[in-house]
Symmetry: C2
Subunit: 418 residues, 2 copies
Amino acid sequence: MFDGMPILRNGNCMIAQSGGPTAVINSTAYGCIKEFMTFNGTATVYAGLYGVQGILEGKIRNVSSLPPSQVEFLPYMPSAAFGSSRYRLKDFRTDDREYQKLFQIFRKYNIRYFFYIGGNDSMDTADKIYDYAGLTGYDLSVCGIPKTIDNDLVLTDHCPGFGSAAKFVTAAGEDIWFDINAYQKPSVMILEVMGRDTGWIAAAAGILPNVISGFNILVYVPEKAFDGPSFLADVSNALSRKNKLLVVVSEGLKDKKGEYVGLSGNQKDSFDHPQLGGVGKCLQRYLKKNLLNDVKLMQFGVLQRCSIHCVSETDQREAEMVGRQSVRYVMQGKNGFMTALERNEAAAGYVCGTKPVGLKDVCNRVKAVPQAWIGEGGKCNTVQLLRYMAPLIFDVKKRDDFMGIRYVDHIDGFRISK
Amino acid sequence: MFDGMPILRNGNCMIAQSGGPTAVINSTAYGCIKEFMTFNGTATVYAGLYGVQGILEGKIRNVSSLPPSQVEFLPYMPSAAFGSSRYRLKDFRTDDREYQKLFQIFRKYNIRYFFYIGGNDSMDTADKIYDYAGLTGYDLSVCGIPKTIDNDLVLTDHCPGFGSAAKFVTAAGEDIWFDINAYQKPSVMILEVMGRDTGWIAAAAGILPNVISGFNILVYVPEKAFDGPSFLADVSNALSRKNKLLVVVSEGLKDKKGEYVGLSGNQKDSFDHPQLGGVGKCLQRYLKKNLLNDVKLMQFGVLQRCSIHCVSETDQREAEMVGRQSVRYVMQGKNGFMTALERNEAAAGYVCGTKPVGLKDVCNRVKAVPQAWIGEGGKCNTVQLLRYMAPLIFDVKKRDDFMGIRYVDHIDGFRISK
């Protein structure tokens, strides 16, 4: 089959969601469902419930037979409407029994298009399914659709889900900043945020001094090795400027030896990743012992990934866009790919499109925050960072020419005029 | 002076904020400032910084000389723009040195109008200042303006600040509900919310089953004595209906002996109130030990009081309204009063106005959630509760005829059609 040629296989479509929920995965599912129905009105759209794990258990829902109102509600609903899992498929070269079962189910429902919405681990799953289909000669189009608040997928400018997480963290950070400034006494608030081994979500908070003047913030990300005494000096310094301070810290912060800061025990999740979440408490104890007593800690927990009440409109629209584009690429004959977001760096404002990239080039790799975007001593506020983050976070029409960032319009994007 | 007669004292105005921040105190300050400037363009508006404590330290800001853009920004800023404190004035009958100092400052700035924005304790402070002015013959109008997310002031239908806290808790509760439903395994999420000795904020979450069908929620408020074994039975029962459950619990939950559930130690704040916040952990341990392992805990902390990113429009408008009305009442000669919110129960929709009530009738009293609104066994979802909460929480224009609640418009209010 030739790239770019429209094709239509005689078969049905299955969509499934995997990994941690976001505020906009359902927008992606919505885009995918609606676009597939447009291209092929006679085929059936199925949802595999609870990711590949649920599919293996035979949990399949016929989306085509749902009342239209339920499908139309999808973009207004956070988290994974069709359920999620963190299930790792075995290597089929050593044990293909799960794959046999999976493809039996595909055959039963005549699934010829498979869309898997997820992060790094899910792209690995999609890639294995693509390879197994090729190996066994089962005619199947496989597309991975990016989704992760961690924003750590390679070969895509950013990941759907990240903008809303970044918006929640910056909006909450702004609100909390005003809250701690109500009282006279010195006060440090530590905000522990998600992001696994990368600091994208924490770094987003680094743009707050561009939005609020006098904003006192330190940001610590896994991309820079953490050192206790330097941290103490940074905080002490920051408090000498103003006696209120936000410290934003990634859950995956590591020390110079590469070990997680504040990791308690050796708990692992089902993908064998360490279960993170102890760094905030660790830094709080450390500051209380060595510097000042009034150190509070806020862990946003699932709020940062599910808060559709604080959704980024850019994120929501792009999430739907990757869903729709994935169907178009598949209909053009693309296979074994992920639909990446591509920002037009040459454009005057923020313009973002999509492109297909190979699943094999994406899975099991991690994109870090560039070192050049991170300053020394907890500073994380560079023009590059602002330029990258601002259009993903701010709802464009609401703030025109705000704090030196000139938004043109939602589609045409924004300009940094200073 | 006769009630209802417009008067203008030859003097200036001071506004101060006290107690815990809310998302909309600054809207109240804004309304008060703008209305006073309208009535008396030649007098100066001062802000006492950090409540009565800051005023005693001579921390006064001339608001009339601020750039207009700073005043206009007030409604968009959560927390207390002029700072807050939790400072208790002594009884002047035993020691009036603080009062002497305070009134020296009033004389210095020729303050003849004093507006104190706060909760129960702040109304007590305002009342003491009113009494001392009367005792010493200092010509001063004193007005308390209600503000508390706890919603526990008497003689007012509700309190500015509460609607936004209730909106945050319901919005976050809705989002978290979808998040825990993404996975197959049984899951209980405990949400610990503020509210001191009353359950208003927790009870607000009780309306969620009206908004989302199949919503599995238990609500525990201080108005009903908490009992461990009954709680265990409630949770067990709820999980037999659906294996996902939200448990919303007030920080001030008490057992049958009237003791706080999960209060660690005997910490008190500066008003001699116990420092709350251990009940969620206590219930989490209890459930893990006796029922199931997957019990998560979310404490919203300051987010529930400062989240202007999730502000209730009704709350924001009413907060400004009480500020403006307070000035009007004072100009009509009212003194020693609080500007209460009064809901027109006879109206077809939600209509809310103001009325002055005596400070002495308000201070140091607490309004509880009516027993009739709270069901047995963690149920907290009655028509009365929904009727009370819905117009305070939902942004009226956004959801028309939603889930059986018909909103007419922002001013005319809403109807429950079922």
